[in-house]
């Protein structure tokens, strides 16, 4: 399992591995928003938690097809499937690798981008916390979507169509935590719900992803 993880991490960090693209996209989206809604600070402050969450979510979405498509194309996926490691574990490792190379950097970058959006001081902690808890779910859900579309040529758009509705609960709870935190309100309920969704998806979705991969590898 560790070997698979290290391999994926190394591939991601290599030139052309796509690391940093998610971050750059996150930055671009956040920069575009004030151009679209106007520079008035009051407005930006109000929408900051939501916009940052959407930026992070879209940045995650962009890199999803890399999780499996490259291995599919060069045949590594067949090898991974026939290896002694259970496919459910392999799929979870792939999701973990995605989170480490895409989700986690977004979490780290979020406070800096919060500055651009005039995020309220109280909001930084909860923005980071909600993203830290929510982005693993985004990776796991994204891996399921990637598994579904792995055999489809140029399936990127279809992947987005399938995954975005699945992202809705995570987005709602995560953005709610960030928003309430920024307002100084109690965050307990959405935080607990977000945590529950993340734990649930991590525990259960790999079984669906593995089943789907087996179908595609037939």
């Amino acid at each position: 399992m560790k070997a698979l993880l290290l391999r994926d991490l190394k591939l991601a960090f290599r030139a052309g591995g796509g690391f940093g693209l998610g971050l750059a996209f996150f930055l671009i989206v956040v920069v575009l928003v004030p151009f679209a809604v106007g520079p008035e600070t009051g407005l930006l402050t109000r929408i900051a938690p939501g916009v940052l969450w959407i930026g992070a979510l879209l940045a995650c979405l962009l890199s999803l097809d890399r999780i499996l498509a490259l291995d599919w194309e060069d045949g590594s996926l067949d090898l991974i499937a026939t290896a002694p490691l259970p496919l459910e574990a392999a799929v979870s490792v792939k999701a973990l690798a995605h989170w480490l190379t895409t989700g986690l950097p977004l979490v780290v970058a979020a406070p800096m981008l919060g500055v651009f959006m005039s995020l309220k001081p109280e909001g930084y902690l909860w923005l980071v916390a909600s993203l830290a808890i929510g982005t693993p779910a985004l990776s796991v859900i994204g891996t399921f979507g990637a598994a579904l579309t792995v055999g489809i040529k140029r399936g990127g758009l279809l992947l987005s169509l399938l995954v975005l509705p699945l992202y809705v609960p995570v987005l709602i709870f995560g953005a709610e935590v960030a928003r309430r935190g920024a307002e100084g309100l109690a965050v307990g309920t959405p935080l607990a719900l977000l945590g529950a969704v993340t734990c649930g998806t991590i525990a259960l979705l790999p079984f669906a992803s593995a089943a789907v991969l087996r179908v595609n590898l037939r």
Binding site: F144, L148, T149, G151, I152, G155, L158, L161, L162, L164, P165, L166, V168, P169, I172, F173, E176, T189, P190, L193, V197, L205, A208, A211, V212, V215, N216, R218
Partner: protein, 243 residues
């Protein structure tokens, strides 16, 4: 011994639906015309909503079928995954566009109803929002079927998607309720819920619901027959190419 699984046999399905489909279609037409005419012409206005209450005869049945359509797809997907009956998988595929259309009708009638009532074409009312999300799930499901060439692979993948989607759709429903009302059972803008629907509205509504159920059934049976034929055609053409 007759069992419902006999109808999983494509030939049996075709021969049976040959007989019953015309009846179901006719019954559906009668129920729809009767129910809608009754509701439109013969029921009074609501004291609060005026004549817009008449939209209920379209909005409620279509919303019900939007949900039940997805449930039917879920059951059909499960049957495919467990018992590998092709008719079941094809029935799910056939039902999706019908369910999606029902969702659209529910959304459009909801919006048209909402305009005079709330002063806006759209409000992020939890119920309307959940239906919008459901529509997206329908679209994804239909798109996945269309994107995969191999019939069995497509059936398997879309079935799993339907399963996972159902869980997330349910989750979204609660998330959306939470999102729009927080912890408070606030005043719901929902149009059809707590209306203690009086008898005078209720019976024509039931007839309309029956009409929509039969319409859904007729369309799904018709479209499943088409899918069965299409699948057979693809198989024959593949055999031709290999010969």
């Amino acid at each position: 011994m007759a069992s419902i699984w006999e109808y999983a046999n494509p030939r049996k399905f075709m021969s049976t639906t040959d007989v019953i489909l015309p009846w179901i279609a006719t019954l559906s037409g009668i129920a729809l015309v009767a129910g809608l005419a009754w509701g439109f012409f013969l029921t009074p206005d609501d004291y609060r909503q005026g004549s817009t209450v008449k939209i209920i005869y379209l909005h409620v049945p279509s919303a019900l079928m939007a949900i039940n359509g997805w449930l039917m797809m879920l059951v059909a997907s499960l049957i495919w995954l467990v018992r590998r009956h092709h008719v079941s998988a094809l029935a799910a595929r056939a039902a999706a566009p019908v369910g999606a259309v029902m969702t659209v009708i529910a959304l459009v009638t909801g919006a048209i109803w909402g305009q005079p009532m709330w002063g806006t074409w759209w409000a992020w009312d939890p119920r309307l929002t959940s239906f919008l999300i459901l529509f997206l799930f329908y679209l994804g499901y239909i798109a996945l079927w269309a994107a995969i060439e191999n019939d069995d692979t497509a059936a398997d993948l879309t079935s799993v998607l339907c399963l996972v989607g159902s869980v997330f759709a349910l989750l979204s429903r609660y998330a959306v309720n939470f999102w729009n009302q927080g912890l408070h059972q606030g005043a719901s803008l929902s149009l059809d819920k707590e209306e203690n629907v009086a008898d005078v509205f209720y019976v024509p509504l039931l007839v309309c619901i029956a009409g929509f159920v039969l319409l859904f059934l007729a369309l799904v049976l018709l479209r499943t027959r088409t899918e069965i034929r299409a699948r057979r055609m693809r198989a024959l053409m593949a055999r031709e190419r290999m010969a």
